[in-house]
Amino acid sequence: MSDATLQLNESPLIAETQHSFVFFSTLLDKPVHDANGILVGRLSDLAVSVAYMFPPVVAFVVQRGRWEKFALTGRWSDVADIGGTAIRLTVGIQALTPSKMDNPGEVLIRDVLLDKQIVDMNGAKVVRVNDLHFLKIGACELRLVHVDAGTRGLVRRMGWEPRLDGLLRRVAPQAQYLSAERLIRWNYVQPLSLDDKAQSIRLSVMQRQVKELHPADIAEILQDLDTHGRATMFRSLDPETAADALAEVDDPRIQTQLLETVSQEAAADILDEMPPDEAADLLHELPPETSTALLHKMEAEEALDVRELLTYPPDTAGGMMTTELVALPADLTVEETFGRLRNEAPDVENIYYLFVVDTEHRLVGVLNLRQLILAQPTAHLHAIMIKDPARVHHTDSRDSVAEIVEKYDLLALPVVDDGDVLVGMITVDDVVSHIANQAWKRKLGH
């Protein structure tokens, strides 16, 4: 918490004015008096404008009536003071609107944040909101700065904070609890129950934070969330990030579920961004009509690769491989090869292994990037390549692929057809995930 708050203190926006911090729980249910001192009701919610980095409170909702409750809404600018035992307004009760507000870009924080799950983009995990932390500038300007996900927030909501703190200070002054605030800065908070309009505003504010997360972290967040949160979060990702994250999700049921939460156009864009072997694996899991439709909407070149991969059963070498690879003729020089790589390789996932083929596209050799870099620029590939490398047939089983990769310590393994024609390659990460899956399945007993 400390450095987050410190940074905020130094912000020029609030440098000159007096400020302090207020928790939402201390404002909730506070009596509200109008300008004439008449009791309007109790504060039940606050609305913030999410278009700002640190959203200002713009409106409030008062619950009136003991048995037949109804809501009154007022603008926050009509509030005179929040410091005392009651909240005082500068206007009369008749200035309030007798309904809940509904302005685009303004969200009711109790509805969408308090007690709800959010994603902490900084810690890359899903947490539940126990309280909200406002910066108070001057008499009553409030800005949402933190979300409280800690046990202190829970205790505060229960109304036990002062007593428990007092007790602990006496019996265990060193207790971790006393200093352990778990505040998450608002710019790292991704709410999950905003409506679409508010969501898109919020996202444009925090696009950068999403980009900074590792795809594996995003995948883990997605798997931790419930179905709706998952959909919200996934829809908010750009196609490239979504593709990377989707490839990292290991449960195929969740993968397909995620892909079904976006439109077919968006799903096709995401598949375009994925390595063809991953895309093919995913399409295998979908109902045939859906995968056919998606293939039609994908870019022609990507779709062709995926279509070809789809012809192989998923549990064979053909089903594991990718068709994205670098295949070079044997009579190329090292220098020419570098030129080719600069042109072709940006689209290829893995270029550490290069394959050498003859005019019929038959596999004749392999070389790795290290050999290429260390070789004389004028040398021909057939002189430096490893001849007759290890290979698998596309019908070989997953287990034999894993065996060969392990035996020869390969990072990538060429896959050939009956005529020894190079049809693809299997990279070590696909084999590792297979081995890991095997171990996992053994553990779960499937």
């Binding site: 007690d115 019929e360 005529g419």
Partner: protein, 434 residues
């Protein structure tokens, strides 16, 4: 040339596969595939439902009150189906567990008190499961001072080392044991005419012990913790709204099976124990209900069934309790986490197992008594949990068009009211000393 031939060969299987796929997707097989993917939570829940407390309560009901509680089973079946269907529907539509929904809709305070109450009741249920283990193994001559520490460690190990999933199937298969009650129930030749009449004609006795038993029977059949467990299981299964109707069958089948088992335990006990005026004082006495089938091996058979049921529920109950208490209070959960990452979760889970088994080790601890009383506690708590379920499932902002129909509300509210009234009568009669 060769490359072309290879390509041709590759095209062929795809054609075949595509046609096969089309066949599969249009026909019955696709439906079967969906059913297999969706089925499970309801049937598993039903089998966990007949745990140590369940077997004990139904046995006691049959032995003490003969056929006079049989009539409750029909209305209880209806209520059970309605309650479980509501929970699984909520799970499918909202994608959230029951504890999550309570927290999100009713706030911290309500959640906290519900969770504390459930924690207490579920601890009582956990003690009952371990009591079942102890009682069953005592029949085999194993001292509880040996069996309980071993069982507690085993349960803890099952979950923490991720072997539970594999063992779950073993538990489920062993649940075929209940068939023994079915056969024994027939072989005891109960007066079927009377059994059938008393199934449908309600009777009521203004006696404290009768009403306690009534509350216990309802409480063990519609156990509150099962509802949390079921909803989470449905959510975890990731059932889509479009596939929901299959979950509905799953739940209904599970409920009917659960109550059928209850009925045959009651009938078997009534036809043997009640008929011969044998009171159940230890678990071994309850085994006589299986004597028509198993003769002198009845005790072994009963012990096996009780052991399986108890261990099954003991594996599920502490874990699911730790899960939903932590979810409701917003603490990190997950078996795959490290202890430091989710201290509350692992702390609760371990504490439930340790406390649950520690009570059993108290000398002369009433094993049978705790199995029975914990179920009465379930019955007392049920209406309150049910009210929260009802408030949630009727909110259109959560459930959209999937809110309760009128008849569902009548049944569910009716159940809550009846259970509250029964609890009040029970407390009243017990206080007056009837």
């Amino acid at each position: 040339m060769e490359a072309q031939a290879g390509a041709l060969r590759r095209w062929l299987p795809q054609r075949v596969r595509e046609r096969l796929r089309a066949r599969l997707s249009s026909g019955m097989w696709a439906r079967v595939a969906v059913i297999v993917a969706v089925i499970g939570p309801g049937v598993i829940t039903a089998n966990v439902d007949n745990d140590a407390g369940g077997i004990t309560t139904y046995s006691l009901a049959g032995a003490r009150f003969g056929y006079s509680l049989l009539w409750t089973l029909l209305p209880v079946t209806v209520a059970l189906i309605v309650v479980q269907e509501m929970c699984s529907r909520m799970g499918v539509v909202t994608g959230k567990g029951l504890a999550d929904l309570i927290r999100e809709q009713f706030g911290v305070r309500v959640t906290f008190y519900i969770m504390v109450t459930l924690l207490f009741t579920n601890l009582a249920n956990t003690i009952a499961e371990f009591a079942g283990v102890a009682a069953a193994l005592e029949i085999f001559g194993v001292s509880k001072y040996v069996s309980i520490p071993v069982a507690a460690l085993f349960v803890w190990w099952l979950i923490v080392y991720g072997t539970y999933r594999r063992v779950e199937n073993v538990f489920l298969v062993a649940c075929l044991f209940y068939v023994a009650y079915l056969i024994s129930g027939f072989m005891a030749r109960p007066p079927w005419g009377e059994v059938l009449t008393r199934m449908v004609v309600p009777e009521f006795h203004w006696r404290g012990d009768y009403i306690v038993m009534l509350v216990g029977v309802v409480g063990t059949t519609i156990a509150p913790w099962m509802q949390f467990y079921l909803q989470s299981a449905v959510v975890e299964k990731g059932v889509r709204v479009s596939e929901y109707r299959y979950t509905r069958y799953d739940v209904a089948v599970g409920c009917v099976v659960a109550v059928l088992v209850a009925m045959f335990i009651m009938v078997a006990c009534a036809a043997t124990l009640h008929e011969h005026q044998i009171p159940i004082e230890t678990a071994e006495d309850a085994a006589w209900a299986l004597a028509p089938l198993a003769g002198r091996y009845c005790a072994d058979l009963f012990a096996f069934g009780l052991f399986n049921a108890s261990l099954f529920a003991a594996s599920v109950l502490p874990l699911s309790t730790a899960y939903y208490v932590c979810e409701g209070l917003g603490w990190e959960t997950g078996i795959d986490k490290k202890f430091r990452e989710a201290p509350q979760f692992f702390g609760l889970y371990t504490a439930l197992i340790v406390l649950g088994s520690a009570f059993i080790l108290i000398p002369r601890f009433p094993l049978l008594g705790v199995m029975y009383i914990s179920q009465v506690l379930n019955g007392v708590l049920l209406p309150f949990v049910l009210i929260f379920i009802l408030l949630l499932v009727n909110r259109s902002d959560l459930m959209g068009t999937y809110v309760n129909s009128r008849s569902y509300n009548v049944v569910a509210w009716g159940t809550s009211v009846i259970m509250i009234v029964l609890t009040l009568i029970m407390v009243g009669l017990l206080l007056l000393g009837y």
